[in-house]
Assembly symmetry: D2
Homo-oligomer: 134 residues x 4
């Protein structure tokens, strides 16, 4: 896979009164997914911010397929959607790890900024992400 996958357990406080994961939490799962993808290509996001590069979410889309419960192990699979000079789209699939059952798919568009205005993605990161498409 030209992407990355990360596993974790559903926390109790992520459930709601329906007994399932509150849909808000998948936004955090996507964030964990792209954090780990960036780490896997050698550009931990914490390091990017330390260099004055900030990724700002400009678009978010989620389609919920089924749900999961407290303490189940989940897996987020993250892939590059597309990449432009100053923005990047990541695509996500969240699955229940044990059976592979699909919980949600979605994507986010992130704009690259210097903390104030939109700027180009650092050249080496751009090349690294482009290589994920091959």
């Amino acid at each position: 896979m030209n992407g990355h996958s990360v596993r974790f357990r559903v926390r109790y406080y992520e459930t709601d009164k329906m007994g399932i994961i509150h849909h808000k939490n998948f936004v955090g799962y996507f964030e964990m997914g792209r954090t780990e993808l960036l780490r896997s290509v050698g550009y931990p996001y914490a390091q990017l911010e330390a260099q004055g590069i900030f990724f700002v979410v400009t678009e978010l889309h989620v389609e919920y397929k089924s749900n999961a419960r407290y303490d189940e192990e989940l897996e987020v699979q993250t892939r590059l959607g597309w990449i432009r000079h100053a923005s990047v789209r990541f695509d996500y699939a969240v699955r229940q790890a044990a059976e592979g059952r699909l919980l949600a798919t979605g994507w986010t568009v992130l704009a690259c900024t210097d903390g104030k205005k939109v700027c180009r993605l650092p050249e080496p990161l751009l090349r690294k992400l482009e290589s994920l498409r091959e």
Copy 2:
């Protein structure tokens, strides 16, 4: 407006290290928006659940336009997008209340369920929501 609007302040824990509202929280703001719209037409969501009717989010979309900071007063405007027998779409706009600056727009699709399977929206609620379109 054939919808509803609700105001509240940004809580400290809703900010992130960029100093702005973390994008995850807009999902909660949308939820507050539809909660208040349902209350305004006489069908508080808590009452629907007490009658065994559950709205499950099946699709979520957000476009982020600008951001806001801790303690700013925000306004969520919620409108009916469309309504079918077993599902409904709500459209949202989140603004900074003081200047009306647009922070985000988006929508959610909710499926009506009896807690297990998809079911028809209660007839009186369906009529009430349809009347919002006129």
Copy 3:
């Protein structure tokens, strides 16, 4: 009362699979309580931070008495516990607003810092908070 009280509704995502408010959220309710107390004495916390004064929580205590549910209106009552040159304690009571039923009591100690090290509370704020004891 030499303090302040603020009302708000329990949000859906604040509930957990037991059907009640997850205990973590009371920490956020306390924060809202002291935010509103500071505003009521003319020192909005956002303004303090803009002047380079940060309150850092050093101690937190909560006793849970009973619980509340989605959409119930709650009230947080906040009072000054004690005040020293560089720290302050606030005491809280969270009630279900309709019946006054007590949900939780607790307190937090906050250290005053300049963002790096502990510093004295600004003199006018100190005097204002002390006046709450009279």
Copy 4:
């Protein structure tokens, strides 16, 4: 150690505008700590709830010592504090994993309930937890 330890990374949405972990999140870290301790003695909490046993937090105490940042790896160490027929106290220490720097200590008291009223801890779980003291 007669306890258990679990590691995880600080998520971006757990930070606040001060650039550090918002103090509210340590409540969730404690919860993860006791979840893993219970799993390690063969009584996953999810399984207890499936049998109609619910642990309700009645008291929470946290002392914050220092703070940590986005993406740092943390470790929660959880030990049995004391155990009675119908309640149990867990003690926690949260450290930055890399250097062992102490971030927070604290404890929670949990009452054992059948979902409605306080009840005795299941005998085998009681014995298992007591054995942690030896």
